[in-house]
């Protein structure tokens, strides 16, 4: 703080100047509240800042003046000649206090000036609290020092005011603070929670009980709650003058005691007498009052024991016909559709019991759905042997040294997807080995490591799985591809294409012909087949290449084929589904906010976000309408907004394939039947964004 003393002196001198000016004004306009306030504020600032920067005499002197002007401010006393004169004298005194180091003379002067204040007003209280305070704290420090080495145990009950969350207090921080003080067990109590439809989510209905063993002084425990002590119910009681957790068995007993809903600090007193027996044994409590809290604890313990037992046991499996799995999925789909219908009826009906039943049913059907899908999930690892084998055989045949590196093979995909993805990937690997990786000699000439690397990497990305095949080979010769395409009549010799467009040519059906097929494959040969196969799985494929550096082929596949967690939105009167996993956030739009946006970019939380306005006529051919919400979509590490009319909430979607009429709109991945029997189209956000980016 010393560094700032010079700055303070400068500032204080400014204050003094303003003070003098204000006083001169006050002489002519004695009741002006603005001037009085200004003087009060300056005294207040001098007091506060003075103390911060070590000008204690200044601080204590201005404190008296602050009190004086506070009373003037509140109309308790009127400004008179004497007060103004006194303040002028004080200003001179303050000037000395600012510019000089404390000196006997000035301190005396301070005292004599202060003594005159009571004469100026009747009601000023002598304020010696401040002087006493430091002495007191020294005492407590001494006391604390003496007791420091000894741990004591406390029972603490913290019942926050229901409004506690509304003033920015996070009760969990207070709990953390307590826990950090020593050994602590915490029990949250969730009693007196009102009915769901009467519950205000901004209210806090949870209270906490603690048993804490700490060396800290009780006043430090009180300090934890300093900001909430006026409003919340807090009980801190010493229950033992030793560390109650020293004995292991005590911990379990305390946990059991705390689990009891009506435990009070007196129940814990017995620990101080070191009586090992509690009035209530844990078993009895469970029988007497099977409270919610008690139930919460039990499943956790069971889970743990289950876990440990499965570790020891060999995992047993049952082989099931794939057909049965498919049938089960179909039934689950039907069930989910029925559940949506039920929820709809319940909502319309408004009967609370029915609504809560429908909600429970939804929870169950969701679990059931996830479980049955989980049964169909297979890790990509299962294909590893196939891939490894191919790389090994082909590289040997071509006399190339290749390291096959894999990452993320534990990523799981639907059984059907796995079955159909193996051929395309094998094809891509073959291409890489044959045409991507150069011969040993060429690699030497190019100063590349002799051993080439092909990497197969898989990971989850939102509702998709991405499989990426990377090689450090020759890359794709764009000119060559272009020539080849011209020869085959795919493009005219005059057509100008970007490098991305040239790479896209590789996926054109006419690009490769039978004549190109060498022993293995030609670069680009059959890539149209690869693309088609992947698209049949509702996936997409893209290719990046850099000459002499290598090629990256990125395959994006949906996690599952037939059911997803969706988010229901409205565009005009029609419902659409956006896959939930693709959504980052929903943002409410202000009226006209999108119209003001330039070049389809809007600023959201300091981020420039491009958006697509689905309420615009170009999306569905109807008239433009204002959008109310922006659904932020995760798109290739970026965010893209989709502007919609309304957001309705989560929805379990059973995907049905689209008919031929909608085949051209490939940014719809399917349709689903809603609870009310209407159809909602499912948006494939990646395709939609790609389409509109063009």
């Amino acid at each position: 703080m010393e560094d700032y003393q010079a700055a303070f002196i400068e500032e204080a001198n400014d204050f003094v100047q303003i003070l003098e000016e204000s006083l001169l004004q006050l002489e002519g306009d004695r009741q002006n509240p603005e001037i009085i306030n200004e003087i009060f504020r300056i005294m207040h600032s001098l007091k506060g800042s003075g103390a911060m920067f070590g000008f204690d005499d200044l601080s204590s002197y201005t404190h008296h003046l602050e009190s004086l002007y506070d009373q003037v401010r509140r109309g308790e006393i009127l400004i008179n000649r004497a007060i103004i004169d006194f303040t002028f004298e004080s200003v001179d005194h303050i000037k000395h206090l600012i510019s000089f180091q404390p000196d006997e003379k000035y301190i005396k002067n301070s005292q004599s000036l202060i003594k005159r204040i009571p004469g100026l007003l009747m009601a000023t209280e002598g304020d010696d609290k401040d002087i006493q305070r430091p002495i007191k704290s020294i005492n407590t420090e001494k006391e604390a020092q003496q007791k420091k080495d000894q741990k004591k145990s406390y029972f603490i009950r913290f019942r926050p005011d229901t409004d506690i969350l509304k003033d920015g207090t996070n009760p969990l921080y207070l709990i953390d603070e307590l826990v950090a003080m020593g050994t602590c067990i915490v029990k949250a109590r969730a009693v007196n929670i009102p009915d769901f439809n009467r519950l205000d989510p901004l209210d806090c209905f949870i209270s906490w009980d603690f048993v804490l063993a700490t060396k800290e002084d009780p006043s430090n425990i009180e300090d934890v709650f300093i900001f909430v002590s006026g409003t919340s119910e807090i009980e801190i009681k010493e229950i033992a003058d030793f560390d109650i957790f020293e004995k292991d068995e005590n911990k379990a007993k305390l946990m059991a005691l705390l689990a009891c809903p009506d435990v009070s600090s007196s129940d814990l007193n017995e620990f101080s007498d070191q009586q090992p027996i509690l009035t209530r044994t844990p078993d009895l409590i469970a029988e007497e009052e099977p409270t919610e809290e008690a139930e919460e604890v039990t499943p956790e313990i069971q889970e743990k024991s289950n876990l440990s037992s499965t570790k020891k046991m060999r995992v047993s499996t049952v082989r099931v016909k794939a057909e049965n799995l498919d049938n089960m999925i179909n039934l689950v789909s039907e069930l989910v559709t029925m559940q949506a219908r039920l929820q709809n009826i319940a909502q319309e009906n408004g009967d609370l019991e029915l609504i809560s039943f429908a909600e429970n049913f939804q929870k169950l059907s969701r679990q059931f759905r996830d479980l049955s899908f989980g049964m169909r999930l297979v890790p990509i690892q299962n294909l590893y042997i196939k891939f490894q084998r191919l790389v090994h055989d082909v590289s040997k045949e071509l006399d190339k040294d290749v390291d096959f590196v894999t990452e993320g093979l534990e990523t799981e995909l639907d059984k059907n997807v796995i079955e159909h993805i193996s051929e395309p990937i094998l094809h891509i690997l073959r291409n890489s080995l044959d045409h991507g990786i150069e011969s040993k000699e060429t690699r030497q000439e190019l100063n590349k490591p002799e051993r080439a690397t092909i990497q197969l990497k898989a990971h989850y990305s939102g509702a998709d799985v991405i499989i990426q095949v990377t090689d450090d080979g020759a890359g794709i010769d764009l000119e060559g591809v272009r020539h080849s395409a011209i020869e085959k009549g795919l493009i005219k010799a005059t057509t100008k294409l970007s490098s991305k467009e040239i790479l896209d040519l590789l996926f054109e059906p006419g690009f490769s012909t039978k004549q190109d097929v060498s022993n293995l494959s030609g670069r680009g040969v059959g890539m149209d087949v690869v693309k088609r196969k992947i698209e049949e799985l509702r996936g997409s494929v893209e290719l990046h290449s850099e000459k002499e550096k290598g090629t990256v082929i990125k395959i994006r596949l949906p996690l599952t084929l037939s059911m997803i967690d969706g988010f229901l939105v409205k565009i005009r009167e029609n419902s659409f589904i956006i896959p939930l996993l693709a959504i980052d956030k929903i943002h409410e739009l202000k009226t006209g906010q999108l119209d003001k946006a330039f070049n389809h970019i809007i600023k959201i939380e300091d981020e420039q976000v491009p958006f697509i306005n689905l309420m615009n006529g170009s999306f569905d051919g109807f008239q433009d309408k204002p959008a109310k919400y922006l659904v932020l979509i995760n798109f290739e590490n970026k965010k893209v907004g989709l502007a919609v009319n309304e957001v309705l909430g989560e929805y379990q979607v059973v995907l049905k394939p689209l008919g031929h009429l909608l085949k051209t709109k490939d940014y719809f991945s399917g349709a689903t039947i809603m609870g009310d029997g209407k159809v909602a189209l499912v948006i494939d956000t990646n395709k939609l964004i790609q389409q509109f980016a063009k």
Partner: protein, 121 residues
């Protein structure tokens, strides 16, 4: 993520000292010299904590807290009042206005750090 603290005080030297200290503690600091100016900073920017002095021209600390609590974005963030008063009465008034807590001036660096840790993680 670096947390942002809005610090409001009418004293230039305190602003400098506390602002510097908060930055040293690794926070992103926004500074305002009175309540009105502080309120104008509440334009939707991410602010995780407000620390404000009590007596200031134009708009005092309690008024600032009361106004800030009404803004949806800042409805639940912690707000601390700097005060030289040890009187419980002022603190109660601050609490009612929506302050999370208070800090008595003068304070030491460690005290400020401790109090911030109480309300901000």
């Amino acid at each position: 993520m670096v947390k942002t603290i809005l610090f409001v005080d009418d004293s230039k030297s305190i602003r400098k000292a506390v602002g510097g200290l908060l930055e040293k503690l690794g926070y992103n600091v926004l500074i305002a010299s009175n309540g009105r100016e502080g309120y104008e900073k509440l334009d939707g920017t991410d602010i995780h904590l407000i620390i404000t002095d009590l007596h200031m021209p134009e708009m005092n600390g309690i008024e600032l807290i009361r106004a800030a609590r009404k803004l949806e974005t800042y409805q639940f963030i912690p707000m601390l009042l700097l005060t030289t008063e040890t009187l419980m009465e002022k603190k109660r008034e601050a609490k009612i206005a929506g302050a999370t807590g208070w800090l008595e001036k003068p304070f030491k660096n460690e005290k400020l750090e401790m109090i911030i840790k109480k309300v901000l993680r």
